[in-house]
């Protein structure tokens, strides 16, 4: 079965998680013989090239980075021309903007890249409750999230699909370095302050915590590390290129994630693929599906305890690392593309 597949993003070429996943999937599905288009409703201010040689077509609706009155009209014309078999609308914003514009025969898929817990505290839950049951399928990142949306947004059309790993590393971390890795923007939602506290509670020299990423919280976090007495062992590494991340994973022993909210965190998936054990707060079905040693959300002592268990025992790290790598298999490109095609098959029943 090969229908035309259109992915629609608010802006498709900005640097971001949704865009990364969209281009990876588009390339993968195109490789399986589907005709694939990626549509951005607005031009990206600072476009990023995700795929060197795309096998899919790219379109940008509006020439400006802002929303325009002609956006709907132009989008409608383009979609009528493509007449997609499946339209993947990648966020609640895209769903509301394109509702009513898609040709009647197109089967619509609405994605949500956050967790239920996140949707619930912002406007997303209301938007999903109102608009997603009008779509053919509402797709979430994990079984648990899909379940929660079916119960709390009364959605009859839920489905779950994980995001794919872009590549599968050949090498695995040796797990001998005394280094804990934290990866992500230094923004409030990531709550690296809690990770710093847990690290301070659990660790002794020579263990170091390397934070990779930059963001507005950096000064507060540096002050926090000083207050917790670990300023000398928390290393702010700034932003690291995607290409160089492999080395970072291979050179670490543990990955830790202390976010307030996560959908299906790429860092846990990549860490697992490199055979790295991880600790995290149990904040979503996505986090549970990739696993690791999980602590109750916000429970810093419990996070510290799990961190300590891994620091203390190389054997435990190896056991957890191997299990993580086995779990990560499910997120490889091929099985994820299989699941997309299962979804298409279900939608054509």
């Amino acid at each position: 079965m090969s229908g035309t597949v259109v992915f629609a993003c608010l802006d498709a070429d900005t640097l971001g998680g949704i865009q990364q996943v969209t281009h990876t999937l588009a390339q993968g599905l195109a490789g399986r013989g589907h005709e694939v288009h990626v549509v951005g409703l607005r031009r990206a201010e600072d476009p990023f090239r995700y795929v060197a040689r795309p096998r899919y077509l790219r379109h940008v609706i509006s020439g400006s980075p802002r929303s325009s009155v002609f956006e709907r009209m132009r989008a409608g014309r383009l979609l009528a021309r493509i007449e997609p078999g499946f339209a993947v609308l990648t966020s609640p914003g895209v769903v509301t903007r394109l509702s009513g514009l898609l040709p009647a025969r197109t089967r619509t898929i609405g994605q949500y890249h956050g967790s239920y817990q996140h949707a619930r505290i912002c406007s997303h839950l209301g938007s999903i409750r109102r608009h997603y049951c009008g779509l053919d399928q509402a797709v979430f990142l994990s079984e648990d999230d899909a379940w929660l949306f079916s119960e709390h947004a009364l959605l009859p059309n839920v489905w779950s699909l994980p995001n794919p790993l872009q590549s599968w590393p050949a090498g695995q971390a040796e797990l001998t370095a005394t280094r804990v890795l934290g990866v992500g923007r230094l923004a409030g939602v990531k709550r690296f302050d809690r990770l710093v506290s847990a690290f301070a509670k659990a660790s002794a020299p020579p263990w170091e915590l390397h934070l990779i990423g930059d963001g507005p919280e950096e000064p507060r976090l540096r002050a926090w590390a000083r207050q917790e007495g670990v300023a000398d062992r928390v290393v702010f590494r700034g932003r690291v290129d995607a290409g160089a991340m492999e080395r970072e994973y291979l050179g670490a022993s543990i990955v830790a994630l202390s976010s307030e909210h996560e959908g299906l965190p790429l860092v846990l998936m990549e860490a697992a693929a490199h055979g790295l054990p991880s600790v995290a707060f149990d904040v979503s079905g996505g986090v549970r599906s990739i696993g690791g040693l999980l602590a109750p959300p916000g429970d810093v002592p419990a996070l510290a305890e799990r961190l300590a268990a891994l620091m203390e025992s190389a054997g435990e790290r190896r056991r957890q690392g191997a299990a993580a790598r086995a779990r990560a298999e499910a997120f490889r490109m091929e099985p994820v593309l299989d699941r997309w095609e299962e979804l298409f098959a279900h939608m054509t029943r």
């Binding site: 956050g114 996140h118 049951c133 079916s150 009364l154 923004a187 939602v189 916000g298 279900h346």
Partner: protein
């Protein structure tokens, strides 16, 4: 082979059949078939069905030769004709939502259940409103291993909201009985006996469409036939359960009968005549006698009373009692109290016990009277009524009375009637009434307290027009209602409102505002005050305003008031929050004073000075640490940062506030450290006059102020009231009264049976009054604890969800149990124990209490407002000035 067969049964419904069939053909599941099962229609149905078949090959048509008179036979025909492994049933006047078939198909394949059951939604066609049937039954998506696991599900005996495994039906030879209406009740009982596992899904899978004719109450003889059939269906269902070894579940099935089936007829019973009621009693009574007492005891008191009256054959009284089943749930005409129990009617009998309603102990303003219209006449635009008022709990001694109808209030002169109760004659000229209203009658006592209750008309009364108004008896209780007819004038004003709403969008207002502040300079002597987003005349803005007034500063003040809020002083201009005048005032005012934040997106005019008083301190996380700013979206944080940048001064009540709150709010400007203006009244501690009387606190009863804070994930849900007030009432109601102060973003209605013990004060205008009249505070994580500490009175903390609140729900900045100036409890039993022994419990916390006061209220000296005004308004001090301005940078 199709995946699913949908059997559409029809009888003489050619007009609606295509809609039903189309709702199936438009399903997201394409691989299905429709079997139209025609019960020998005599109308156009065959031709319509043929056309549907021609248009889509997935449609088939089967037809009975002779009409069966029910739904069972055509369903069986359709089931026999089904070719697919799964089947659903649809009536020709209803429709399926788009995902019904595929969602249940996926669920039955996933779970391997015998059938899947989903939510039914009633869709009222004239209004388009929908209402789900017993949503609590369908709330959880789950697999049930046999009906014994959840016998409540007997309430769901429909065959239409389910997808069945056809082999399950055939294996168990499940068929619909053909000689009875309510065939699905009997079928349902058999289905539950046979099913080893079934699945329940929370989403809507069936639209039960109710057209206008469905809703009108017909007094047909046919309806009595329906009663007979329903009783027969109940009997057969019980027999089915016994025959299949489920005899132990008979009471659960009977519970369904009393709770649901009986109610279907009890609700409209008051609009039937006595003959009907008597026949109803004689039809139902024999079966009700078989129902065990424990089933009836599980029901609400008024249903229990109705059952008792049916059993006793008292049809006339049954009509009176049945009117109390539904809104506005009027009290009985008569009640007696005997040995501490309250009984419905004139004589005590166990079945008539309504003590649990606690109606006899209500405070006067909440007490219940029953006003029945006994005669009604019209004359031009005038409505003349004779109303009989029943006072079953003898609350009326000395009073003046009035009748209110929208803007109209007319005095009443009720006279004692020989027939019992009071009778009043009243004439209302409705010419000036514009909107709709429920007329109500109020009785005012000499102390100023008033009790009001709805006026009930004959529920069987036909609606009639009176000038531009329509008068009708609403609902099954017959509450009198006056509403405008759809006259051109009404339509015009509706259109006007709609156009205005289109034009007055928040976006346009913001745009207009931004233009205004560019061209208009603000007036230095105009100050806009707002407390709690316009919700009241309270808090620190009030204290600051009163101080400004007291000193006679040359400042014109305007107060912001949210829609529908009252209690503001009469000598100050008000603007409705969000209105065009409000926007004008924001642009013009050279001084802004508020406690929560003026609309976040509105920039401050150049030159305006903004005093942010803030509205509390305490243990909660706040600002950038609060959940609404912790989401993975930058928008709200940027909005907040810009809003805080507008502040020119922030009042910080304590060093603790400066330590945590000021940085968490993201504020870096000048901080005023003079204490909290709103706490000045608490420091003075003068007990406010008349508050105990206004809240109807009985003499000698102690007052517990219960002020829980809201839960971020469940605003407006009532779930912040976590103390089981019923249990608490049983333990301490002879000594204590609870004043329940819910958070302004919370909605909670105190149930009537708790009103004897709980005084709702969620919208009481001034919390300081409540603090001052109370004897102790019960809270969880509310900032009120910090203000309350000023008084030195005992505090108790009910923190049963502490871990959840601390870790995931909200987050905190302080470990409450470590510093709490009173006991932290998690159960009502502990709470009761503390209340019984309060003085010594309080004394044992003396050290922690003192520490808390040092932490939160060291600077409260009762002159905070004066010092803030002196500093911010640059006014000549009325009290000795501090040596130097305390305006200083936050550390």
């Amino acid at each position: 082979m199709p995946d699913c067969t949908v059997v559409v049964i029809t009888y003489n419904d050619a007009a609606r059949l295509p809609r039903a069939v189309r709702s199936v053909l438009d399903q997201t599941l394409r691989g299905l078939e429709v079997v139209i099962s025609d019960d020998a229609s005599t109308d156009d149905t065959p031709r319509v069905a043929q056309a549907l078949m021609r248009a889509d090959p997935r449609v088939r048509y089967v037809r009975r030769q002779v009409n069966s008179g029910g739904c069972g036979a055509p369903r069986n025909d359709g089931l026999d004709a089904a070719l697919s492994p799964y089947v659903m049933f649809l009536d020709s006047d209803d429709t399926l939502p788009r995902h019904a078939c595929k969602s249940m198909l996926a669920e039955i394949e996933r779970t391997g259940a015998d059938f899947v059951s989903g939510q039914i939604s009633r869709l009222y066609e004239p209004s388009g409103k929908t209402e789900r049937y017993y949503p609590q039954l369908f709330g959880k998506r789950r697999v049930v291993e046999g009906i014994r696991e959840e016998p409540e599900l007997f309430l769901d005996c429909f065959s239409t909201n389910k997808l069945f495994d056809v082999s399950f039906l055939r294996r168990n030879a499940l068929h619909f009985p053909e000689d009875i209406h309510y065939e699905d009740h009997v079928f349902g009982a058999e289905m539950y006996c046979a099913a080893r596992r079934f699945a329940v899904v929370p989403w809507v899978v069936y639209h039960w469409r109710r057209s206008r004719e469905h809703m009108s109450i017909s007094m047909s003889i046919k309806e009595m036939d329906n009663v007979r059939h329903r009783v027969e269906a109940a009997r057969r269902s019980d027999a089915t359960l016994r025959a299949h070894g489920f005899g132990d579940l008979v009471p659960d099935r009977q519970y369904r009968f009393v709770r649901q089936d009986l109610r279907v007829y009890l609700n409209p019973l008051p609009s039937h005549d006595l003959v009907w009621a008597e026949e109803f009693v004689s039809v139902v009574r024999p079966y009700l006698r078989e129902v065990s007492d424990e089933v009836i005891d599980r029901m609400d008191p008024m249903v229990r009373v109705c059952c008792h009256l049916i059993l006793a054959g008292r049809a006339e009284e049954l009509a009176v009692a049945a009117r109390s089943l539904n809104a506005p749930q009027p009290p009985p005409r008569e009640a007696v109290t005997h040995e501490g129990r309250t009984y419905w009617g004139g004589t005590p009998a166990p079945g008539l016990d309504i003590t649990a309603l606690r109606m006899a102990e209500l405070p006067y303003s909440a007490s219940r009277l029953r006003h029945e219209v006994v005669a009604l006449a019209t004359e031009g635009t005038r409505l003349r009524m004779r109303v009989r008022t029943y006072d079953p709990f003898a609350v009326l001694t000395e009073w003046t009375a009035f009748l209110r109808c929208g803007p109209l209030t007319v005095p009443l002169h009720p006279l004692l009637s020989p027939g019992g109760g009071l009778v009043s004659e009243v004439t209302l000229d409705l010419a000036k009434v514009r909107g709709s209203c429920h007329p109500s009658i109020g009785f005012t006592r000499p102390d100023g307290l008033t009790t009001t209750d709805a006026v009930l008309a004959d529920p069987g009364m036909e609606p009639f027009d009176l000038g531009h108004l329509r008068v009708r008896a609403e609902g099954t209780a017959g509450q009198l209602r006056v509403s405008p007819r759809t006259t051109p004038r009404v339509v015009l004003s509706r259109v006007k409102r709609r156009v205005l709403r289109r034009v007055s969008t928040p976006r346009l207002k913001l745009k207009a505002y931004k233009t205004l502040i560019k061209v208009l300079p603000p007036r230095e002597d105009l100050a806009l005050f707002e407390a709690d987003c316009g919700n009241g005349y309270t808090g620190s803005p009030r204290a600051v305003y009163e101080e400004v007034r007291r000193r006679g500063l040359p400042v014109d003040a305007v107060w912001s008031v949210a829609r529908g809020r009252a209690g503001f002083p009469s000598d100050v201009p008000l603007v409705r929050r969000g209105s065009w005048r409000y926007i004008w005032t924001m642009a013009r005012a050279g001084v802004w004073v508020d406690s929560h934040g003026f609309p976040l997106d509105y920039p401050k005019p150049h030159g305006t000075r903004y005093l942010q008083t803030w509205h509390g301190q305490g243990i909660k996380s706040i600002g950038f640490d609060a959940p609404d700013l912790r989401a993975d979206l930058p928008g709200p944080r940027e909005q907040w940062r810009a809003a805080v940048a507008r502040w020119d001064a922030l009042i910080s009540p304590s060093a603790e506030f400066s330590r945590y709150f000021v940085p968490a709010l993201g504020y870096e400007g000048p901080v005023l450290r003079y204490g909290t203006p709103r706490c000045d009244a608490l420091v003075r501690g003068e007990p406010p006059e008349g508050v105990r009387e206004r809240l109807e606190i009985p003499r000698g009863r102690r007052v517990l102020l219960y002020a829980p804070t809201y839960r971020d994930s469940a605003k407006s849900s009532g779930r912040s009231v976590r103390v089981n007030l019923q249990e608490l009432a049983e333990a301490v109601s002879d000594e204590w009264v609870v004043i329940l102060r819910t958070h302004p973003v919370e909605r909670y209605k105190v149930p009537q049976h708790l009103r004897h013990f709980v005084r709702p004060a969620g919208s009481y205008p001034e919390i300081n009054d409540l603090i001052l009249v109370s004897d102790a505070l019960l809270t969880d994580y509310s900032s009120v604890m910090c203000d309350y500490a000023v008084t030195g009175k005992p505090m108790l903390f009910f923190i049963d969800d502490w871990d959840e609140y601390r870790l995931s729900e909200r987050g905190v900045n302080t470990d409450l149990p470590a510093i709490a100036p009173g006991p932290c409890v998690t159960t009502v039993a502990e709470l009761v124990a503390c209340l019984r022994d309060l003085p010594s419990v309080h004394a044992s916390f003396a050290a922690k209490y003192a520490a808390a006061r040092r932490l939160w209220c060291e600077e409260e000296r009762g002159d905070a407002a004066a010092r803030v005004v002196a500093d911010f308004f640059g006014a000549p001090p009325a009290v000795p000035a501090p040596e130097q301005s305390q305006l200083r940078r936050a550390s």
